[in-house]
């Protein structure tokens, strides 16, 4: 399904994400990597479980609050079958913890720190996803 290119809204949303990451670093000295925060919370490994919990509660409330304040409908269109979503979740969960980061931790925070590790990771997951999409959509025509 086609989607509308939204440069301004997307840039503005990105600025908010950057602000959120700055607040977490300024207040708690933490990188705003969602996979790290989520896995830390799930496995109770780090000492800052209450901080992780508060962050995740806020994260989950962002969409309903935006829906409440905005007149625009929020679209969430998913055409992947349920079994595919289950497999994808497993891959993303395993991959982001094994590879120490996701789009936020490596893609935003890591690149901003000019970390070579994060740049390599970001280039790897981006190119993998682009090649996978090309094969699925244009070779198999799904």
């Amino acid at each position: 399904m086609s989607t509308e290119f939204t440069p301004w809204l997307s840039f503005f949303g990105g600025v908010l994400i950057g602000l959120a990451a700055l607040i977490l670093m300024a207040a708690h000295g933490r990188i705003a990597g969602i996979s790290g925060i989520l896995s830390g919370w799930l496995t109770r490994t780090d000492s800052s479980t209450p901080i992780n919990t508060a962050f995740l509660v806020g994260l989950v409330l962002g969409l309903p609050l935006t829906a409440l304040l905005s007149s625009q409908p929020i679209s969430i269109e998913n055409d992947t079958p349920f079994i595919g979503m289950l497999m994808a979740g497993l891959f993303v969960g395993y991959g982001t913890v094994h590879g120490s980061g996701c789009t936020s931790g490596h893609g935003v925070c890591g690149i901003s720190r000019l970390s070579a590790r994060s740049m390599v990771a970001t280039a790897t997951f981006m190119s993998t996803a682009i090649v996978f999409t090309f094969i699925v959509r244009h070779v198999f025509g799904a």
Partner: protein, 147 residues
């Protein structure tokens, strides 16, 4: 109380950002990844917007002594490009393309209660826990192997 409020506010602003930017919509992410199809470059603008704040912001924070509510900044220190970094990123890339979701947008989209999103978050937790314990086991074995 203030530490919790600041962490909650950070999460909330993050969630609003993901929603406003359109990243909670898997179709938008899939179209970003489809260079040969109906390409939607929006995701690149999200990253640009975020990095334009965090790049100068982190630089400033590097100069300050300590965070507001804790004794020290936890800046990542690792610099090595090892195989888990690459293997993990490949797994992530496949799952990301298959679903159009990464951990942040998946969490933010939870209140939509769309079955696919709920299922994704469930197995996301399973996969993350598996990788966590695998890492712990490996560290344990390495510790015992070294004299």
């Amino acid at each position: 109380m203030l530490p919790l409020i600041s962490a909650g506010a950070s999460g909330l602003i993050f969630g609003i950002g993901l929603t406003v930017s359109g990243m909670v919509n898997p179709a938008k992410v899939k179209n970003f990844l489809d260079l040969a199809g109906d390409w939607d470059p929006s995701l690149a603008f999200v990253m640009l917007g975020a990095i334009s704040v965090t790049l100068p912001g982190y630089r400033l924070l590097r100069k300050s002594q300590s965070p507001w509510f804790t004794s020290k900044f936890q800046w990542p220190t690792r610099q090595d490009i090892d195989s888990p970094l690459i293997v993990g990123a490949v797994f992530f890339g496949v799952g990301w393309a298959l679903s159009g979701l990464c951990p942040g947008p998946a969490m933010a989209a939870l209140p939509s209660a769309i079955p696919g999103v709920l299922g994704f978050v469930l197995t996301l937790g399973v996969g993350a826990t598996i990788a966590h314990h695998q890492k712990r086991l490996k560290d344990l074995v390495e510790k015992n192997a070294s004299p």
